[in-house]
Symmetry: C2
Subunit: 434 residues, 2 copies
């Protein structure tokens, strides 16, 4: 059956999260968690559509929507089959469009838009196959997976042959890990206790609640003043005790030398990692910080723009935890390249989540990573944040600190029609009341 | 006199250059040279306005226009004085806007838009002072110049104190270099002969014409097939002889190892530099290439997204020529940071030009660089491309292979009203005919 993409519709959807400080951090004190949302319409007799989004935090979502519209002509009129039979070429047709690439290339707004569109395409593909995206990927052969990747600019770190080798060595044992994922799910940690805008009392009570719910790994936002950070990390360490893991996250607020000084001051509270200590563009800066603050580890990735920066973070030993974002880089295809580079360089992948739809997305990526690429859960966990899941048809399910493997067809980010209506910016009822 | 910014108007202006292959290269075979153009309107009794633009190559210009509109509320209603008395804070208020930074930060579309707006602001400032932008900068004290720079993320490479020292050591001799610039102008090289889409015959005749006009330095676009590149470089070398400089430009088409192999094949024709051998994001890749192909030099910068990547290119000895672009990074303020880092690391700055308005912009930057920062013309030259200057009120003037110092107030990118009308996309008459 041939399915043709007949139209692309895009929405600016914003949630007024700044009213409660949920999601607040040192660089983003007042985010309105948002999404530039995409529906790929088709001529499928069953009315199948593809759903994707890129995550934003309020103003600027309309710019991503404009970029998605600029990409739309590259999809409309194409058959799904013409795309899926040469995925790498499809991906390059978006990222190397001869005029649009000037406004990136492969970074910022145009790449966020690429992610929304590419992920919508994978969602459609999975729905047509009647599988969740992770299962669609797991059922592909190593050759098929490698054929999804555009290796441009990374062959000095990972060749197609090396990628194939990594995937092939795990094929025989895929079935056991798939069974394990279906039974236990993927381990998670929570960020919901430690937002920067929360009071000390709220931080303390949220830690207690989270422990009661079985969480064993906690993240604290830092980067305000050193005094505040010391007081807050002390509260969290008191509440969670010496054995649970405590990660801190500066959200890019420091220069290289400030990051080193700050982390040396927090070291007595044994943070496991410092996340985003400085600019996400600063590969050499992360390497300098990593050397200076050992044994504290360095994590980054949610703002790392593409596989070329990730490649260098691996090459320079600048990052101990690779925090891919499902819609910052160019969707599933580029994620595959990054997962395989991480495996080659021996760096655990702990995806960035929270936001709008990020938890829904990354569960697929981590489950696939475990079954087909890393074959390990050591030092691996998936971020979880409690808010906004109620807006999706297939929200994540957490049990005992684990993501349950999603079984519904697609990539889990299809939004409820009433959400698209009420939270539409600026005309939805939520914003008209504001 | 207090001047308040009362409105920001933005235009999508496109020139159908793809019809002639002017500007064509390995990655951009069919550019329609374009601009997202900005006018800052004010309440000045003389009707003073500020004019800025960011250069684009066709599709996607409308996305930059959307981003400029997103930035507009940060300027409208502000007095010029409130901005110019704390330039670094103004610049950070744009680049670190708490929601908009998510769609960058400081890269791609939102940073291109920042450049258009920031440059329009400098144009307005210069018009109010009755000076060209280079003269406005040259008349600032070292302290005033340093106060224009946001040092976030670069203090590990350049502190404000070091920047001040670089500027102070040149103050006493500024006046001589200013006189020299007013008399001789700034040395240039031409890209107009070597566009990739031109036939061998056209390449040959354009080389002859350029030599007749006094050009001594030539650039050839490469990166198609090795066979084509070898044939074309041979033609250019034959025409310009052994002593004139020949630079080649691959426009990011190669992977790291491809770049090395390709340049080893072109080495017998003694290219002086290879420009953009690979991804502009690949600091470590450029360093690897630079080591492998010496004594051929490595040049890059027109697609380098911000000061953080430039910082690393300096730190890693990855770039022998720094090709700043006036509207890829965030306008004059960020350019100052990059010029000062280049001076500290001893790397000549040879700005990227051509495009729409880029020649008009960068003449100001190079003249300022010579007078106040580098104090040297050794290995320095400014790109020149012959097309589209007729659309500006104050187009560049080239004499004997030198840019004449512009004397009209402002930043030289004010477009003619008939251009804004005829080339407006999609409704201008040029596009309605298409």
């Amino acid at each position: 059956m041939t399915i043709t993409i007949t139209n692309l519709v895009t929405y600016d959807v914003r949630f007024p999260t700044s009213r409660t400080f949920a999601g607040s951090d040192a660089m983003h004190p007042d985010p309105d968690y948002s999404a530039a949302y995409v529906i790929l319409q088709t001529d499928s007799p069953q009315g199948l559509e593809g759903y994707g989004l890129t995550f934003t935090i309020g103003r600027g979502t309309e710019v991503c929507v404009a970029a998605i519209r600029a990409l739309a002509p590259l999809l409309i009129g194409r058959t799904l089959e013409s795309i899926t039979t040469n995925m790498a070429a499809f991906w390059r047709s978006l990222t190397s469009e001869s005029q649009l690439r000037w406004i990136g290339p492969e970074k910022g707004v145009i790449h966020l838009a690429t992610a929304a569109v590419v992920n919508a395409l994978w969602d459609l593909y999975a729905r047509v196959e009647g599988k969740s995206v992770w299962k669609l990927l797991v059922d592909m052969s190593p050759e098929q997976l490698v054929a999804c990747i555009d290796f441009r600019y990374i062959t000095d770190a990972l060749t197609p042959e090396e990628a194939l080798g990594i995937l092939q060595r795990n094929v025989a044992t895929r079935v056991q890990r798939e069974a394990e994922m279906l039974q236990k799910g993927y381990p998670a940690y929570t960020t919901s206790a430690g937002w920067l805008g929360y009071s000390d009392e709220r931080l303390r009570s949220l830690c207690r609640e989270a422990i009661a719910r079985g969480w064993t790994q906690f993240k604290l936002k830092v980067g305000a003043s050193l005094q505040d950070d010391l007081r807050r990390i002390q509260i969290m360490r008191e509440e969670i005790g010496p054995d649970r893991k405590l990660m801190v996250d500066a959200n890019q607020v420091w220069d290289v030398n400030e990051a080193i000084a700050h982390m040396q001051a927090l070291a007595p509270y044994h943070p496991w990692w410092i996340e985003e200590p400085t600019s996400p563009d600063d590969v050499l800066g992360h390497a300098t910080i990593a050397r200076a603050i050992a044994p504290i580890k360095v994590a980054t990735g949610e703002h790392v723009q593409n596989r070329v920066i990730f490649k260098q973070l691996f090459q320079a030993n600048a990052m101990h935890f690779c925090q891919i974002d499902a819609c910052r880089v160019g969707g599933v295809n580029e994620i595959l390249a990054i997962l395989l580079m991480a495996a080659k360089f021996g760096v655990p992948v702990c995806p960035h989540a929270g936001g709008v739809g990020l938890c829904e997305y990354v569960q697929h990526l981590s489950i696939f990573d475990y079954i087909c690429v890393s074959a390990s859960l050591e030092d691996r966990m998936l971020e979880y944040s409690a808010h906004l899941h109620e807006h999706f048809f297939d929200p994540v399910v957490i049990e005992d600190g684990h993501y349950k493997a999603p079984l519904a067809p697609g990539y889990s980010v299809k939004m409820l029609p009433e959400t698209l209506k009420a939270y539409a910016f600026p005309d939805g009822e939520i914003w008209r009341q504001a």
